[in-house]
Structures are given as C-alpha cells and as structure tokens.
C-alpha cells in the first residue's frame, strides 16, 4: 500500500485514490480505513439484500399482480388486491383480532414486566434465579411450547382446568370455545414474552443513577411519587423500545395460533384468525401470492405507522 499522503487534501492527485481523497477531503490513511470497513460490510450487505431487502421489495411488487403460485399467467392488476382487501371479511376479521391480541399482549406484558422488574430491582434474595425462571420461556422454542400449552388448556385433561376445579370452576373449553380461545392465546403469549420485557426493563431500571433517588428522598419523596417522577421518566427510552418491539412482535403473531388451531381438538379458526395466519393461508394454502403480498404490505404499513406514532407520542411527552 502506498504511503499515505502527508497533506490532508491533495487537489491534483495523480492516482484514483488521490482523486477520491481529494473529492472526500480525506487523507489516504482514512481512505484505506473506509475501504476496509466498506469491503468488510459488503458480504453482510449482500446477504441482507438477498434475504431481507429483495424479498420485501418483491413483496411490494407482487402485491400489484394477480400472482398465483402455480398458474403461468400472472396479470398486473394495479391496486385491485388492495381494493379487495377492504371488502374481505376474513382480512378485516384478522385485522380486528390481531389488533385486539396486540393491545392486550403488549399492555399486559409491559405492565407485568415492569412490575416484575421493579420487584427484582430491589434487594430481593435469589434475584438471578427469579430472572432465569422468568426468562426461560423466551429461550424455549415456540412450537413445542404451543403444543405444551395446548395440553395445559385441554378441557378434560388440562392442568389449568384441574387447578380451577379446586375452586369449584366447571371445565372451560379454553381452546374450543370461540369466546375464550383468544384469551387462551393471549395468556400463552404473555407468558412467552414477559421475561424478555422484564429483563430489558430491569436493565433500564438499574441504569438509573442512585443519586436521583437519594436527592428525591432528601426532598421527602417516596414510593409511588418517586416511581412516577423519577423512574418512569428516566425509563422512557427503554420503555419505548419494549413497547415498539412488543407491538411489532404481537402484530406478527402466527406460530402459536397455527399450532393451536390444528386438529380436531384444536381452537376454532375464525376467532383466532390473525393477519399472518391469513397471509399464510392465502399464500401457501390457496397459492394467491399477489393477494397475500398485499396483505403483507398492509401489515408492514400498520406496524410502521404504529411504531412512528409511539415514537412521536413518547417524544412529545418527553419534550
């Protein structure tokens, strides 16, 4: 490699590198660093392009076509798929169910996660053990867990109904009754995500300097007032992150719904129809890839809009 130019900016460089240095107003050493970094990033970017950006872009394009997976003719239909979505009862039902699911799962898991984090941030004994116990569901795979929960919810042999029977509660068809099936999925999903939220919020809590609490206690603040005036405002960035990530994940709910609606002893389809399941069914069962792509685009836009709104609301609140 050539010696880096002593001058920070060489206006009349004789090599390409010199010209680039001139254009960017950097020396050759800096250019070499940039080149190394960008070359190092190329493989990652290529993989990211192939696995993420290209499929997302293709999904947007497919959504304007009547793209059947098998049929050779795939006509361009413009916005027809989107217009059809507005009239599709299944899609609207899925949108409603997914929103309901997201509101409850995010709400419950964030509030409970925060409560647990506050408890564990105190001088409790065996805190690491509790953390590990609450975090365990996060690292266990969803499919076996969904199957296990299917048994927990089983009306006749499930441990949940067995426990409830001690209090005189008659067997509940957790998964088979359309009225309660969604609640069963919400309970299972909160259980799965609670530990993740708790750990993040715990990290946030521990990063708040103790000096604020000391100053507040000198001023006579305690308990709820201290939590409201110090903990919550300083926890806001982490809280925002947790809410955004939980919302995105909740809108993408699929695996537990898919597993728990399979078989004759499973949950009914309609009350548990969620957006990703609807996309899966249209795409991979009915092979309507164009239509499923339009649904995926709508889901992306919804999640994007919600994330932006959440960011905006929390920032405005902070200002």
């Amino acid at each position: 490699m050539a010696e880096p130019s002593a001058a920070p900016w060489v206006p009349n460089g004789t090599t390409l590198a010199d010209r680039i240095c001139g254009l960017l107003r950097i020396n050759r050493l800096t250019l070499a660093k940039y080149r190394f970094c960008y070359l190092g990033l190329v493989p990652v970017f290529v993989i990211y392009w192939i696995l993420r950006l290209e499929p997302i872009g293709r999904t947007f394009i497919l959504s304007f076509y009547d793209w059947h997976l098998v049929r050779p003719i795939k006509p361009f239909v413009g916005l027809a798929n989107y217009q059809e979505l507005l009239r599709d009862e299944n899609f609207l039902l899925a949108l409603k169910n997914t929103t309901l699911f997201a509101v409850f799962v995010v709400g419950i898991s964030v509030i409970l996660g925060l409560a647990l984090a506050v408890l564990l941030a105190g001088q409790l004994r065996f805190t690491p053990a509790y953390q590990a116990i609450y975090f365990l569901p996060v690292i266990t795979p969803m499919v076996p867990m969904a199957i296990a929960w299917k048994w927990i919810f089983d009306a006749r042999y499930g441990i949940l109904n067995y426990a409830l029977s001690w209090f005189g509660v008659r067997p509940i068809g957790w998964l088979t009754s359309p009225d309660v099936a969604m609640w069963a999925i919400i309970i299972m999903s909160v259980w799965k995500v609670l530990g993740y939220n708790m750990v993040l919020l715990l990290v946030g809590l521990k990063s708040i300097p103790a000096v604020y609490y000391e100053a507040a206690s000198i001023d006579g603040a305690a308990g709820w007032a201290m939590f409201r005036r110090i903990t919550l405002p300083l926890l806001k960035p982490i809280l925002l992150f947790v809410v955004v990530i939980s919302t995105i994940n909740a809108y993408n709910v699929f695996t537990q719904v898919y597993v728990m609606t399979q078989g004759s002893q499973a949950a009914p389809g309609a009350p548990l129809r969620v957006l990703v399941f609807d996309i899966y069914q249209n795409g991979f069962q009915f092979f309507k890839m164009g239509y499923a792509s339009a649904e995926a685009v709508v889901l992306t836009l919804i999640v994007l809009a919600l994330t932006l709104i959440q960011l905006r609301v929390i920032r405005m609140d902070g200002e």
């Binding site: 059947h68 997976l69 098998v70 049929r71 050779p72 009862e89 299944n90 009306a155 006749r156 042999y157 008659r170 067997p171 509940i172 068809g173 998964l175 088979t176 009754s177 359309p178 009225d179 609606t261 399979q262 078989g263 004759s264 002893q265 499973a266 949950a267 009914p268 389809g269 309609a270 009350p271 548990l272 129809r273 069914q281 991979f284 069962q285 009915f286 092979f287």
Partner: protein, 454 residues
C-alpha cells in the same frame, strides 16, 4: 409425442401455427424413426432409479416394499421415496412442479393436482394408463373426479375420504341397543347417540354419544358436515346446466344439516367441544359413535385393541351416499423415464398391491375389481369401505380449483355456528347463518368467474 406431453401445451390456446407444425413434424419424425431408434428392451433392463414423493409418511414403507416386488420382474429398478407431512409436501410440490425439479412420481390430493393440470404442468394419462382408468376397475364417479377439461390425470390410488359409521358394540349392548341393528337413518343415529351419551354427577358429558367434528381450522369440518348435508339432499356447491356453479346448501337441506349439529351439541348434548374427539376419543372409549375413514381401523388396532366395535355405512335421510375423494398417483413431465414411471404407478394400484397397501397402511384402494375376501375375513370392519351396497351412491368434490378455499372458509363459519347455543330451536337463526355462509361461497365462486344460477 413425449415432448408434446412434456410441454403441457397440447391444444393450449396459446399454441401458434408454427409451433404446432414444428411439434407435429417432430412427432412424425419420432414416430417414423421409433422402430429403428428405440431399443426394444424390457422396461427396466438398464438400471432405473425413480424418485417418489408422498404427503403421507405411513405410505413410505408400502412404497418401498412395492418397489422390491416390482424389482423382482424389472431388474435394475430402484425407488427413492421421500415423505413429509401433507402440507409440507403440498408446498414442496408447488415449488417443484412448475420448475420441473420434482420427482418422477408423486401422490397428492386433487386440490393440488387440479391446479397443476389447470396450469398445463401435468401430463395427462397416456393411452395405456387410460385403458386401465376407464376400465371397470374404477367407478365412473372416480374417473370423473380425475378429469379436468376433458383430460384424465393420474391413477386413482387410495380413498382419501370415504367415511363409515364406527360404533362401539359393547356400549350399544349396555345402552339397550342391538349392535346388530346399527342406525340406518340420521334420526335413528341421533336417537342412538342420546342413549349412548353419558354424563357424570355434576352433569358434565363424559362420553359422547356421537363424536362430531366441532372445532379446529381447515376444510375437514365442512367435509364432515357434508356427510349430513348430502344425506339431507344438499351439496356444498351445485353445477347449473350452463356449467356454472352456486352454493347448494342455502335450502332446507342446509338448514337441516346445521340443525342436526346444533341439536347434537346443545339440545340433546350428545357431544361437547370439551371432550376429546376423533379416533383418539373412540379408541379411549370416550365416544360411542364416530363417522370416519378406514384408517381409523389401523389406529384402533394400535391404540385401542380392546375396543369392541363394528362399522356400517353412513346413515341415510332423503338420500344415501358416501363421499369419495380419490388420492391419485401422478407422473411428472420432467421424468427421464415416463414409461417406467407410469408402469410402476400402474403396478402400485394392481390388485395384489392394493391388498398389500391396505394391510400395511390401513388406507383402502379405489379399485372395485379386487377380491377383498381375505381382508374381510380378518377384519370385517373394512366392509362398508370396500363393498358398496346397492342403492348407496357416491358423491365427490367438484372439479373447481377454488373449492378448497370455499370449503375451508365455510368450515370456519360452521365452527362458530356450532358453538352458538342461541341457535337452538331457532329456525330463523339457523336460516340466517346458512344464508351468510352461502353468500360467502357464492362470492368466492364469483371471484373465480364460476358463479351462475342458470
């Protein structure tokens, strides 16, 4: 000619005159040169390895055993069988067939093969196979099932959906019913179910008199409802004289079929969503009666060997019939050995293999020219699946690509209706639900360009 078949475009509207002349010319040359160029050797004299894909893992041992038998008369023949769960296999095939990267032979339901045939991706049956399929070996309904736009695709292999009524003979006796006189009508079926249902002291149903498909997602719920609907005189869709389709259940039959389920669950409480269902419930004696396919016999041998039971044809009401849903074998257009592949597929459905197939898997053959006596001596419960009574008709799914979607969506609405206690003794409520379901069915037919009433 093979090229014509493999292109899948024979007679397609998009074929140009030039292309047609080229193809005819090529076919002529091939035909003329065939006696000289084609080696007249037995089919598998040279080593041939075929690949076969199945969506039923329990069929894999049968395919391997059959391949061993085939190899006895076709030296050098080998089979590589690949199995996976049905939905996965459907997706594999959907990716592989359009790109000509599939196996030589595969089995699949018509919901998938019809889409391939419609897209010109499957070769229709060659003449030798046609003579078998159109012989008396198969019921005309079965041949019709495999026909799409005048061409027959695949060799009917096994029955995918023919149901019979399974009933527990011990429970019949205990309930004061004669196990030699099983229900023959749906009224008798409900009456027997009421006697067979059992509750515990607090009033919870602990044994279903008749186990029905009440929950879960997927077209199976609607398919089981169709057993009752058909007997009542309805169908999920019906074809008009002009070849269009519309729902066939927004009528007295549809309302009666839904009422049968509502009565069973809420009025007479012969079944409950909270109970275990399906073959598992029958095997564990938590259900006294069940309408299901022949595979349950194998399931009972394994999981409920002590269950005393018999089988009989699904009862009748206004009409008597049994659903049939052939699962067929297809040869792909990309196979290097179409002659061997078709020959092996025909071997798989031959009478000796049909018996082996049933013995090894519990699935019944579609052929009606097999002597089932040895099987029936050993397992008389196979009778309603293998021997067709006089006067008992057969019905099947219509050949329309959108049927799987409309049946799946109908199933979801049925599940919601079954759980709605307010529909009990409310004919108007039932009629309203049926109308909503029917509107959805018609809407899907309209979107597919298939709807019509004349």
């Amino acid at each position: 000619m093979r090229k014509l078949l493999r292109s899948g475009k024979t007679g397609a509207p998009g074929t140009t005159r030039r292309m047609f002349l080229k193809q005819v010319g090529a076919a002529g040359l091939t035909a003329a040169a065939a006696p000289v160029l084609r080696p007249r050797v037995s089919m598998a004299a040279a080593p041939v390895t075929l690949s076969l894909w199945t969506g039923y893992p329990e069929l894999e041992p049968f395919y391997k055993k059959a391949a061993e038998e085939y190899a006895k008369t076709h030296s050098g023949f080998k089979l590589e069988a690949l199995s996976s769960q049905l939905r996965e296999m459907e997706q594999k095939l959907t990716a592989a067939i359009p790109t000509d990267t599939g196996p030589d032979v595969f089995d699949i339901g018509r919901n998938i093969s019809l889409v391939f045939a419609d897209a010109g991706l499957l070769p229709p049956n060659p003449p030798k196979v046609m003579s078998l399929v159109k012989s008396k070996a198969y019921h005309p309904v079965v041949v019709e099932y495999n026909t799409w736009k005048g061409q027959v695709y695949g060799i009917p292999f096994q029955e995918g959906s023919k149901p019979a009524l399974f009933y527990n003979t011990k429970m019949f006796t205990e309930a004061g019913l004669d196990p030699n006189k099983p229900p023959t009508t749906f009224d008798e079926l409900m009456a027997a179910a009421r006697k067979l249902a059992k509750k515990d002291a607090p009033g919870n149903l602990v044994r279903a008199g008749l186990s029905l498909r009440l929950s879960g997602q997927g077209s199976g719920v609607a398919e089981k409802w169709w057993y009752v609907l058909h007997a009542m005189g309805g169908d999920i869709v019906v074809q008009t004289k002009s070849g269009k389709w519309h729902n066939g259940y927004d009528n007295e039959a549809g309302r009666a079929a839904l009422k049968f389920y509502i009565d069973a669950v809420h009025k007479y409480q012969v079944d409950d969503t909270k109970l275990p269902h399906d073959a598992a419930a029958f095997a564990s004696e938590q259900a006294a009666m069940l309408m299901r396919e022949a595979w349950v016999i194998g399931e009972l041998k394994a999981k409920g060997p002590k269950v005393q039971y018999a089988t009989v044809a699904v009862p009748r009401a206004k009409r008597w019939g049994g659903m049939t849903q052939p699962w067929s074998l297809y040869v792909t257009r990309n196979t290097k050995y179409p002659d061997v592949a078709w020959d092996f597929a025909m071997f798989l459905v031959s009478p000796p293999m049909a018996i082996l197939h049933l013995q090894m898997t519990g699935w019944t053959s579609m052929r009606q020219d097999v002597d089932w006596t040895p099987i029936l001596k050993e397992t008389p419960q196979f009778k309603p699946f293998l021997v067709w009574d006089k006067g008992r008709g057969q019905y099947t799914e219509p050949a329309i690509p959108v049927f799987d979607e409309l049946e799946t969506k109908l199933a979801e609405r049925l599940v919601t209706a079954y759980a709605d206690k307010s529909l009990m003794d409310k004919p108007d409520g039932i009629a309203k639900r049926i109308k909503e379901m029917a509107a959805q069915t018609d809407d899907l037919l309209k979107k597919a360009g298939l709807y019509g009433t004349n």
